[in-house]
Symmetry: C2
Subunit: 219 residues, 2 copies
């Protein structure tokens, strides 16, 4: 995948900034299992995923892991550049969950651009907000774990009603059924998708693992 | 408190940006109990606290509240300006926990400055990272709740050993005792402080509520 395609802000930059980026950027194939960020100090740079899958997770003192979020095609890993942001002080590990191809923007290229370009600084802001939203969602899941159950139950009911695993229903429709915002439904469905419970296609939700879905629903 | 004092990036801005800010900024006294941000949509602007205390918290469907963080003197509330950042999609409520005096930078003033000035965009970034760090800390507390117990036990032991409630010990020293980073100790002590369990002065930690501390330690 083209670098400019992976870096949505690219076309809004000046010629000079563009050539600075192009001269510094590195294409890399990352083997499944590779640790991209091992602690607070690893600082590879901004990782723009062309294809593959990264997993960001925290580890307790006892070695217990909890996934914070996953990064898929066209996502950008900001944590691997966290040394640019001294106020970001937490230990999150990032590893490649699948063989991954990515563009890396090294810190020494990205940092001066972020310092001088409002475009790039605001793009970084947007990435932060997206991750922040995912983490807030996770907190609510951890604290109250109610909506995953409700959604799982809803999908099970629908499969029974329609006598099929292929549900032709929009996220918007599910949202009205459950009295939630559409974004919340989409996020939870993506989570189910990552867990291998459903497959998402345009206009349909396909339940691929009924047993796992029942388990989520607490049945 | 002077506006320039509350807004650390002010002195690094150009004359034009400074006068734009000064002409738009509003000083406000906020009564204890006032809701500053009631959901995802309230968008007052950036709130720079001169004195007082704000509380940011989430509320479950059943009305259960959990504090995400507190904002004290010289802190800046970014959530009250979240409509500037469309990728930030979560419902956090912010209320004044004490009578508060604050400078407000309205969105219509801040947003164009953030769009054009890398300084202000990066300052916003820094605020985001600080809050993000607090939220990640909270997740770990919720998931593993071990360090608060360990720190509480340590303080109780020290009080017994020294036969006093006034512990002349640095955060750094506590950190080495418990095998933690100093920042982690400082953050937890501030949390204890907010909970009224200890008082923090230069060079000392004063235990003010031994019963509450024992409760935290699980004794």
């Amino acid at each position: 995948m083209d670098f400019a395609e992976c870096f949505p802000v690219y076309n809004r930059l000046g010629k000079e900034e563009q050539s600075l980026l192009m001269s510094g950027v590195v294409f890399r194939k990352i083997k499944k299992g590779t640790i991209i960020r091992g602690g607070a100090n690893d600082c590879t740079g901004l990782v723009l995923i062309c294809s593959g899958q990264l997993r960001a997770y925290i580890v307790s003192d006892e070695g217990k892991e909890v996934t914070i979020y996953r990064l898929l095609d066209r996502d950008v890993c900001l944590l691997s550049a966290s040394c640019m942001m001294p106020s970001m002080q937490f230990d999150v590990t990032v590893t490649a969950e699948k063989d991954t191809e990515a563009w890396i923007i090294p810190i020494k290229v990205y940092k001066p651009l972020m310092d001088s370009s409002a475009q790039i600084a605001n793009y970084t802001n947007e990435l932060l907000c997206t991750r922040f939203t995912e983490v807030m969602w996770l907190i609510e899941q951890i604290l109250w774990k109610s909506f995953d159950k409700r959604l799982a139950l809803f999908l099970i009911d629908e499969c029974n009603i329609e006598d099929t695993s292929i549900l032709h229903i929009t996220h918007e429709q599910i949202a009205s059924h459950l009295g939630k915002a559409r974004e919340v439904v989409t996020r939870m469905l993506k989570y189910f998708h990552n867990e291998g419970v459903v497959r998402l296609t345009r206009g349909a939700v396909i339940v691929t693992d009924h047993n796992k879905l029942k388990k989520i629903a607490g049945l």
